[in-house]
Each structure stands twice: as structure tokens, then as C-alpha cells.
């Protein structure tokens, strides 16, 4: 019985693609065997053995399947458009009679050379036209929308929806090539009324759904500057449904008055990004980056699931790149990660609480990463195990510096998030404590400007005032975007 070694590339040994059928495998083996047979003129016993070993595995359907699966599980298979790596803060833990903490960092990176051909975009631009958008905001949105038209391909689909108290489809989903329709829609944008996001979102989703294909990138881009009242839950469940149908949502907030927590959630459920646009002139650039991100998507609907040993639980999961956010871990230990784009690796930090009172090496958790390859809609499944040796006197290894740097930044983000939480609960004392701590750590890490912004808010809150919208957004989106050191 031949043994499978997933580290070896049997397909390469025979010089065939991973998709080769039985006949191709047989033929390739016969050619190689003739070429390398020790009895032939240019014989090479080692290469002959390699080819023979590969053939033994690949000619057997069951063994070949097992081999493919193992390679995929290790991220070695040619098929996966990205790599999946795991780093533990330690491989050795002391035996304790209580719970203890350990950290795992996951890196998911798109393979650079595997840039798939550009897929068709199917977009809805949902624009807030409430009164507050009057002036430079609306002017810049119009310019940005025109830019968008120029940067899209003629075969892409686009629709434009405007909303205030109600939604209006200004340009129903159509080929971008029909520029007349879109130009007049953009011209027809005039501000008036309030902000009801749900109506606008729904209209945008409907437009995208009508033209959605398995192979197209379906996405709603929401641009708003205000708060929606009373319809948040409806909007969030619409976003969840959209996420399940492979329709993404990005939420771009302009100015200081929009509800950051709500838009963050909306985007997360829809598998997209939320962004803070400080000045109207940034609208164009942010929108351009959004489109670039969408066309560079290599995988979508990424999700992690944790298979945990009985005495292990997940304490928290945080995304560290492309931006920091706390991720929701469901009862079934599932965490949705959204999509992956070229050049923007996704890094996730997992805190595990381990309660192990016996020695020896054990598998603490198995982490499964599932994703859908964008160009083919194939499901990809990769897997990593976390093994730890428990002993009374464990080896003390230094924590990898990159991990410390990432954790330090994630920790600062969490501190300021807790501050806003405490403030909402009416506990301003606790809020100032968290903010002061965040400021201290920001100074320690060398982010003076953000540290000072935090101290300014501390001053306001401790004098009984409210934090400013600008300060809050600056801190939330500033700490969220703390740059991570690369390896």
C-alpha cells in the first residue's frame, strides 16, 4: 500500500495538470517510465522512483481523492487562490488548575499571480439625498458618480437609487454603456427630505438582484450623511439576506452625523466595508478605491469555523487587517470574514481560553476556512490545527514580535470601543478610564495625534459634556486603521 505524502507534488512529478484524467495519467507515467528507466540510456533511478510513486497514488481513484483533499487542507493545492497561515503565541503551556489564555493569528493572502480575468460588475449606487446633503456634499457625490461611470466597463451593470423619506430609482439597472440614462439620473439628484436608509437599501438590492449572475460581482454602495431612525433592524436583516444571496454592501458615511455602529454592522452583514469620509472632496477617491477592491476580489463569503476540544472556548475574534474590527462568533463557532482582494491580506486574531489540567501534546482546536473562489464560484476548504504541549514546566518562547504589534493595536481599538459602550450605558467615569487607557497606549505606540484626540474627548466627558462627533469618528476610524507592521 503506497503512503500519501501531501508535501509532494505528484502532478508535477508526472508533468500533468491537477485536472488530468485517468488516460492522461497513464500516458504521462508511461512516457516518464520509458525516459527514466534505469535500463535506458539516460536513466535515473531516483526520478524513476518519484514518477512511480506518483503514479501509484494518482491511478487509484480513492487514493487520489485523499491526496487532493490533504493537499487542499494544507493550502498546497494549485486550486486555492490564496494561502492560509497560522501563528500561535506559544506551542507550550503550563498545566494549570484554572483557565488560561492563548492567542492565534491567521493570515489569509491572495496569491498574486492568480489574478483572474475581470468579472462583470453589477452595482447599485444608493445615494442619500436628504436636505443635509445640500451644497459641496452633493456636488462631490455627483462628481464621484460621474467618475464611477468612466471607470466602469460598458458591459458592467449599474443602477442609481436616491432616497430621502422614500426611495426613488433614478436609473434602473442597465448596461453602463447607456451613459445617457445615468447622466440624466445624476443630474436629477436634488437634496430634500429626511434619511430613511431601509427604503433606499431595499430599492438598491432589488435592482442588483434583478441582474445578478453567479459570475458577476453583485454589490450595493450606500452613501449617506445622516442617521436613520426606527428602521435599523429591517435594514440589517435585509443586509443579512443579501449577504446570503451573495450581494455585498458597502456603506460610506460622509461627515460626522451618521450612525457609525449601524453602518459598520450593515457592511459586515453584507460582506463589505464601511468607511468614514471626513470631507466631501474625499468621496471620489473612496468610491474609486471601492471599485478597485471589488474588481480585485479573489474570494468571497469567507468564513472560519472552529472545531474545539471540550475544554476550550473562543473568547473573542478580531480582524486586524485590512482594518480592525470585532467579529461575531456564532453559537456554532462560525465567523464570517467577507471577501479577500489582491494585495489586501486578511489577518484575524483569535483568543482562546483553555482549561486543561493534564499534560501532553494535544490538539486544542482545528480551524476551517471556507471560501468561494470569485472567478469560478468553486468552494474552497482549507484547514489548520492548533497543537499545544502542556507540562508543569513549559518552554518559554518569546511571542513573535509581529503578533505583539498586531495585538497591541487591536487592544487599543477595543479600549476605545469599550469607552463608547460605557458612555452609552451612562457610565461616563468608566468611559473616561477606557479612553485614558487608550490614549496611554496610543502614545506608547507612537500615535500622538490619536492619543491627543482621545485626551481631548476625556476632557470633554469628565466635564460632563458629550464627546464630539468628529472626535469619536476620528478615534474609531483612526484606531481601526492603525497600520499593521508587515513581516
Amino acid at each position: 500500500m503506497p503512503t500519501i505524502d501531501p508535501q509532494k507534488d505528484y502532478y508535477a512529478a508526472l508533468g500533468i495538470p491537477a485536472t488530468a484524467d485517468e488516460d492522461q495519467i497513464k500516458k504521462a507515467y508511461r512516457d516518464k517510465a520509458r525516459q527514466y528507466h534505469p535500463d535506458s540510456a539516460n536513466g535515473d533511478a531516483a526520478l524513476f522512483r518519484v514518477a512511480h510513486e506518483a503514479y501509484e497514488i494518482l491511478q487509484d481513484a480513492a487514493l487520489r481523492r485523499a491526496y487532493d483533499r490533504q493537499r487542499e487542507g494544507r493550502g498546497l493545492s494549485e486550486e486555492a487562490p490564496f494561502t492560509f497561515e497560522l501563528l500561535q503565541n506559544t506551542k507550550y503551556l503550563p498545566i494549570l488548575d484554572t483557565s488560561q489564555m492563548m492567542y492565534v493569528m491567521l493570515d489569509i493572502r491572495a496569491k498574486k499571480d492568480l489574478r483572474s480575468s475581470r468579472r462583470r460588475l453589477n452595482l447599485a449606487l444608493v445615494i442619500d439625498r436628504s436636505t443635509s446633503m445640500k451644497g459641496t456634499r452633493m456636488q462631490n457625490v455627483k462628481l464621484a458618480a460621474k467618475d464611477l461611470l468612466d471607470s466602469l466597463y460598458t458591459e458592467d451593470r449599474l443602477s442609481i437609487v436616491a432616497f430621502s423619506d422614500r426611495a426613488e430609482v433614478l436609473a434602473p439597472s442597465d448596461r453602463v454603456g447607456n451613459t445617457r440614462v445615468f447622466n440624466s439620473a445624476i443630474a436629477a439628484l436634488t437634496p430634500s427630505g429626511g434619511t430613511e436608509i431601509y427604503q433606499g437599501l431595499l430599492a438598491g438590492l432589488n435592482q442588483v438582484t434583478n441582474d445578478a449572475l453567479d459570475t458577476s460581482i453583485n454589490h450595493v454602495i450606500l452613501l449617506t450623511d445622516g442617521r436613520t431612525y426606527g428602521d435599523e433592524d429591517q435594514a440589517l436583516s435585509a443586509a443579512r439576506r443579501a449577504g446570503a444571496q451573495n450581494i455585498g454592501i458597502s456603506a460610506l458615511g460622509i461627515g460626522e452625523d451618521w450612525n457609525d455602529v449601524f453602518l459598520d454592522k450593515l457592511a459586515r452583514y453584507g460582506g463589505g466595508v464601511s468607511q468614514y469620509i471626513r470631507t466631501p472632496s474625499q468621496v471620489r477617491q473612496v468610491l474609486r478605491e471601492q471599485i478597485q477592491g471589488l474588481t480585485n476580489t479573489v474570494a468571497q463569503r469567507m468564513a472560519l469555523t472552529f472545531g474545539l476540544a471540550s475544554d476550550v472556548r473562543v473568547n473573542g475574534v478580531q480582524r486586524a487587517t485590512p482594518y480592525i474590527e470585532s467579529l461575531e462568533c456564532t453559537q456554532e463557532n462560525l465567523v464570517s470574514l467577507g471577501s479577500l482582494t489582491v494585495g489586501e491580506p486578511v489577518t484575524v486574531v483569535v483568543e482562546l481560553v483553555v482549561n486543561q489540567s493534564e499534560g501532553g501534546e494535544r490538539r486544542v482546536a482545528r480551524i476551517n476556512l471556507e471560501a468561494e473562489e470569485s472567478s469560478t464560484a468553486n468552494r474552497i476548504h482549507l484547514r489548520k490545527d492548533i497543537n499545544v504541549t502542556f507540562s508543569t514546566n513549559p518552554v518559554v518562547e518569546p511571542v513573535p514580535p509581529r503578533m505583539l504589534n498586531v495585538l497591541a493595536r487591536v487592544s487599543v481599538f477595543q479600549l476605545q470601543e469599550r469607552a463608547w459602550g460605557a458612555l452609552e450605558d451612562g457610565n461616563s467615569r468608566q468611559a473616561t478610564r477606557y479612553l485614558e487607557a487608550a490614549a496611554t497606549q496610543l502614545f506608547n505606540l507612537g500615535y500622538r495625534e490619536l492619543g491627543q484626540a482621545a485626551m481631548l474627548e476625556v476632557g470633554r466627558i469628565s466635564q460632563g459634556g458629550d464627546p464630539t462627533g468628529t472626535g469619536r469618528k476620528k478615534l474609531r476610524y483612526g484606531t481601526r486603521a492603525l497600520s499593521m507592521p508587515s513581516e
Partner: protein
Amino acid sequence: MNQKGSKIVCPSCGAENLPGTLFCVQCGTYLPSGGPLRTEPLPDQEEGRLARPRQEGKEEEIDNRVINIEVEVLNTGRKVLLSADREILVGRLDAAHGIFPELDMTTDGGLEQGVSRRHARIYTRDGTCFVEDLDSTNGTFLNDERVTPYLPYAFRDGDSLMFGTMRMKVHIYTNEK
């Protein structure tokens, strides 16, 4: 035999954290060293793992423990006696930004002589005193050599320290004296 899994008490805010925690949940302090991130002294087995809280009045094993550091500011002749059992921040007071240095150089003309608000920190570890520059604008000098920011440098009794252009002499008082 199982070790007692005692909680880590954060040295700066007193919150309890699970063993193995790297950053205090309440205040973000890096627990294995009890100080800023970039200056972790190599952990020595037990202690590094369960960064123990400092316990006042506890019998100390190390004989030549540093109790006090006296700093003499040479241009004004001011002498400051500092307790070595906690970290000493050197800088200039700035209440608006919450900077309250233990060694405040404002009255010695710190601003004019190029002392940053958060200039450096001094601390002791296992009987040795360290100075660490906090990426100050004009630098910290140990015996006239500029130190690299965020790296601890050991100094001895009688050494000369310079913050910006402000020079001072340090005296270390240990149990032995």
C-alpha cells in the same frame, strides 16, 4: 502536580486577567513586562509568564535591591530623590494631555533645554537601573552617548544622564548602604 493558575493582576490598573493574557483587558498594558510594548526584558521562566503584581513590604530576596535613585540637575543644583519601586517618567508636566512625569523638568528650564513632555523613563529590574528614551525630540544621552529610543540602557551609580541638553548626575541607593 498542577500549578496554581493565579490571575495576573495588572500592574497599572489592578484589573485581574486570565493567566497567559498578553494585554490587560481593562487598560491595554502589556502584561509580561508591565510596561510599554517595545521594551520587553526577556522573561525569566516563572516570572515572565505570570507577571506578578508588586507587593509592598514583601521580603525581597535580592540583597542589593535599589531603593532610591537621586538625580542631581547640574545647571540648577536641584536634587530629586525618587523611589525606585515604580517606573519614573522623565518629562514636562502637561495636564491638558494627561502627562504627569515623576521627574518634571519644567522648573529647571526643561522647555528651553529641549526636554520633551514624555522624554524618557527610568526603572529598575532585578537590581539594575535602566533608562529608556521614549522617542524624544532631542534624545537621551548616557555618559554622552545617545541611546536608541525604546531600548533599555543600564546605568550605574555616578553615571551622567542628559535629556535634550539638560545634564544630570545619578546616585543609586541600595540596601547595602
